[in-house]
Subunit: 228 residues, 2 copies
């Protein structure tokens, strides 16, 4: 009973099942199968008929394609808690678009495409609950990506400034940028608007002052602290 | 006619409309309204009945909530090309969960919830196409988030190593980590497994050799190069 409850909790963490009621979750559980793969074991091949989708519980699954020359292109590494091959459920042509192989000993739960599709066809409310959840997740991801991109760009710029300072800075903390800002942005693989935003943030924090290409570093230690 | 075609292209870049056929897209376009907001102009308030969702074409929209004390919590900044309030379409209670305000002069296209919902109810195939697209996007986002997280953690660790080297390293490039790896990981806000993975990657690149807490830096310049 307790085990059942913890299984329900684990299933409801999967975005596809998060909005299901108890009866619907029971339907999903009836088709659930536990799979254990050894390291390097293949789960399915590209082009094979797709009847099931999967949740990784432990280990890792590599999704990949082979080129006509036989070269392998890794599409994705699936980590514990993530599902894969579930988009196929919604497609007309139910074949796996990639091959799947275990990178380490891996435990999976697999679910029947047909049963899940039947459940969605039963009620458009279930479809709509799922779509609402998916579109909120898409927004949350975009937020996370934006935040990480800004962090990344900040780390790159601060690393660059600290190095330039060590090599070319004056004793009183003045540093002339070695190129125009858009050139620096391009060299650091940062969007020019992002670079401006970061310089603005660092100025607002009182760590630097910017005048054209001239940067006055007020507090090198705090600037370096951004790298921690 | 040309304008019509470019409008169609722009609409099909929106994930909600990407899989629609021409007839369905025409239905969406019939309810389309163009809106222009001045800087600071409010679009809707939290709790207001939601009849439309939006695509930002230029400018920025801030989504926010006010606390009971009146403090503003920014939930999201919506950039050009992004939609917002579309999750409400799929919800039973059609009210805006946040307030929306233009951060700069902003052009929007707005769409009718009712018309879009009717379109989805007409055919479960359309729902399924949308869900397939959404679940592939969710996977792509997770990939991007994983890649950015790894980059971010690499930048943090390299920044840390370069600074430690300048302060405590020996002339022949040896550096003893000042604490156990899991402590360093925590200080750099990096998962311990991620830290191990990065040390492994840097070793595989021939930039460093790791023996317990002892790091031998073979090529300081290449190590610093990761910060560019």
């Amino acid at each position: 009973m307790v085990e059942n409850q913890s299984q329900d909790l684990e299933l409801r963490r999967v975005y596809l099942f998060a909005g299901l009621d108890d009866v619907q979750l029971d339907q999903v559980k009836r088709g659930l199968r536990v799979l254990r793969l050894a390291e390097s074991e293949r789960l399915f091949d590209h082009g094979q008929a797709a009847e099931r989708f999967f949740l990784v519980r432990s280990g890792q699954i590599k999704l990949y394609r082979l080129s006509t020359g036989g070269a392998e292109k890794v599409i994705e590494i699936i980590q514990p808690g993530q599902t894969f091959a579930e988009a196929v459920v919604f497609m007309e042509r139910q074949v796996y678009p990639v091959s799947a192989q275990a990178l380490s000993p891996t435990e999976l739960w697999s679910f029947e495409n047909r049963a899940f599709l039947a459940l969605l066809r039963q009620s458009s409310d279930t479809c709509f609950r799922l779509m609402a959840d998916m579109s909120m997740r898409l927004h949350a991801h975009i937020n996370e990506i934006n935040g990480l991109t800004l962090q990344n760009a900040t780390l790159r710029l601060v690393g660059f400034l600290v190095r330039q300072m060590a090599e070319h800075g004056s004793a009183d903390g003045r540093l002339e940028l070695p190129a125009a800002k858009n050139v620096i942005a391009s060299r650091l693989s940062v969007q020019p608007e992002t670079l401006s935003r970061i310089l603005h943030n660092l100025s607002a924090d009182g760590v630097i002052t910017v005048q054209g290409r001239m940067i006055q570093i007020h507090d090198l230690e705090r600037l370096q602290g951004y790298l921690d």
